[in-house]
Amino acid sequence: MARASQVAQTLLAIIFIVLALSQIGLAVNGIFLGSILALGAVGITLVFGVMRFANIAHGDMMTMGAYVTFFLLVSVLPEHTGLGPFTFGFPLLIALPVSMAAVAALAVGMDILVFRKLRLRRANIVTIEIASLGVAIAIRGFVQMVWGTPVRYFPNEGRTHFSLPADISIAPNHLFVSGAALVLAIALHLLLTRTKQGKAMRATSDNPDLARASGINTDRVLLWTWAIAGALAGAAGVLLVIFNATAQLKPTMGFQLLVPLFAAVVVGGIGNPYGAFLGAMLIGISMEVSTAWALPTYKPAIAFTVMVVVLLFRPRGILGSKG
């Protein structure tokens, strides 16, 4: 039985690799999409690690990040596009960190105003989860009240793609997206493994009672976790806009990514930030490669299917250890 399952898992891995290699151009795109998913999924998984609930508002936090940058680019910062090979201008490099800070503040505010109150009342986990659904809808409503429902665009100018052998063409923006995601991922890794606060986050995720019994102020760890998850979500939202060829934003952009994001979290092993990265790459590549045969609008369904298949063989995800 265990043997058969191993054979099946190996077969699935081989099929995945063969399909990805047969559509190498799409697979490369999948890595870019995966790096955006990773930033969102890591936030969801970090929050899950310390609070044990899957934050449904995470997609809309990404949306918020994108719109904060939109606001800064259009109303605050000087007009400029076409920085180097990119479609956007240098103001984006200023707007990106500001948006990250804004969404981090939003996330901390959410915890203080909503989730902490529910925690103190010892509310059921699912009640907290429904509250996060309410927060998600409220954030979307706020975005629509301020910026309206029609599609908006970052200021941008058209750019040519880089051509590589084997029919791979890469948009310069995509390189920026994955570069930025990589920098953030490395920063997060260093934070989690080299700093006292980061280790305390991992310790709290492992065993909150023992963390308290070691003198760690877990309430403060929670706020840190929200801030980091929020900052990453803000960055993911901005990068999602740049990833799009016409740099468009809409109020539903984050919520629509929720199924792929959750799929990435679950596939990697819920609660494990490294798993979330792996899961995001797997989901991102699957989604893009599938467009060789299926309509692109089916991408979320593909993400969901991959998740179900992985769960059938590994109920705790690929790198999951917690029950």
Partner: protein, 336 residues
């Protein structure tokens, strides 16, 4: 005005049906389903595809849908006040929802609660994408808009909505009393035991998985019937009606506001939330915009969860108790 109130009441009735189904899932069993829209859509499309007629020639000719059963079969008769096509539509909706719930439930109910949530969300999105992309099945993004008036045989066009309101109420009450009887039965007691403490319920020899699966299928069937009622009401459906917001969140809002696990929560919640949702369009402009509605319903749900975790229903009954107590006191004082 009367017409508006009738339409308003019909929708409250239909949303009460969805909320009743969700109450079976979450309120009584603790199953976290955030894919109500999936069963909603399945029910609506199943009933529509079974009963739909081809468009008349002056309508666009690239109108596509699968089945065309109503034309191939001899039309079912109307018996008394019952149009059998309507009954057949509700049955089809129930069957399709039950089948999908059985498959999804079997795979995911054993997993922890969050996974069921993600799975139901994924299913709901997948269902919507199938109806959106597979034009041959349900006419793609334009949706189906030739769903027949199933009660034409017994109602004049002017009376149609009022007759339909009665039908919706009859269906809702039947489901409501059915659920009430089940909740008070031994089966319902086991569900509550599972909800309170799964480990103990398992230890006392109850087959937890089977009970949860039965409840999941039952709730899904109720949601599917709600979908069929919805389709026969508007007589036009399209994938945009089944987005997570309109198809799932608003129903959760109704259950939370009404008070999950309480018998009357579906009606109270549907009345309040649908009242705010559709009443706010009459407000002066910045407040009347649909975007303000999204925001205020989201905030309402959070406020209720934080400050009135049992919903509005217990507040109402407490207010009534206080009122009667005060009246009794006043009478006692007056008598002295």
């Amino acid at each position: 005005m009367l017409d508006f109130l009738t339409a308003f009441a019909i929708l409250i009735g239909i949303y009460s049906v969805f909320t009743l189904g969700l109450n079976v899932h979450w309120g009584y069993t603790g199953l976290f389903n955030i894919g109500v829209a999936g069963f909603f859509a399945l029910g609506a499309y199943a009933a529509s595809l079974l009963t739909i007629r081809p468009p008349s020639s002056d309508q666009v000719d690239d109108y596509l849908y699968a089945g065309d059963l109503a034309n191939r079969l001899e039309a079912l008769p109307v018996i008394g006040a019952l149009d059998l096509w309507f009954i057949a539509g509700l049955l089809a909706a129930s069957l399709v929802s039950a089948a999908v719930a059985l498959v999804v439930g079997t795979i995911t109910i054993r997993l922890r609660g969050d996974y069921l949530a993600i799975a139901t969300l994924g299913i709901a999105e997948s269902v919507r994408l199938v109806f959106l992309n597979e034009r041959w099945l349900g006419n793609g993004s334009k949706g189906l808009y030739t769903i027949p008036r199933v009660f034409d045989g017994i109602a004049t066009p002017q009376d149609y909505d009022r007759v339909y309101l009665v039908v919706v109420l009859v269906v809702f009450l039947a489901l409501f009393f059915g659920v009430r009887a089940l909740v008070h039965s031994p089966w319902g007691r086991v569900l509550r035991a599972i909800r309170e403490d799964e480990v103990t319920a398992e230890a006392s020899g109850k087959h937890v998985f089977r009970f949860k699966l039965q409840a999941f299928v039952l709730g899904a069937v109720i949601m599917g019937i709600g979908g069929a009622l919805y389709a026969f009401n508007l007589r036009a459906i399209s994938p945009s009606a089944f987005t997570p917001l309109l198809g799932t969140f608003i129903i959760w809002a109704m259950l939370v506001v009404g008070g999950s696990g309480r018998l009357y929560a579906p009606i109270v919640g549907a009345f309040i939330v649908w009242g705010i949702w559709s009443g706010s369009q009459f407000l002066p402009d910045p407040l009347g915009s649909p975007n303000v509605r999204y925001f205020s319903i989201g905030v309402l749900v959070v406020l209720v969860l934080v400050y009135a975790p049992d919903g509005i229903t217990p507040l109402l009954s407490r207010a009534r108790e206080r009122w009667t107590a005060r009246r009794r006191l006043r009478r006692a004082v007056a008598e002295e």
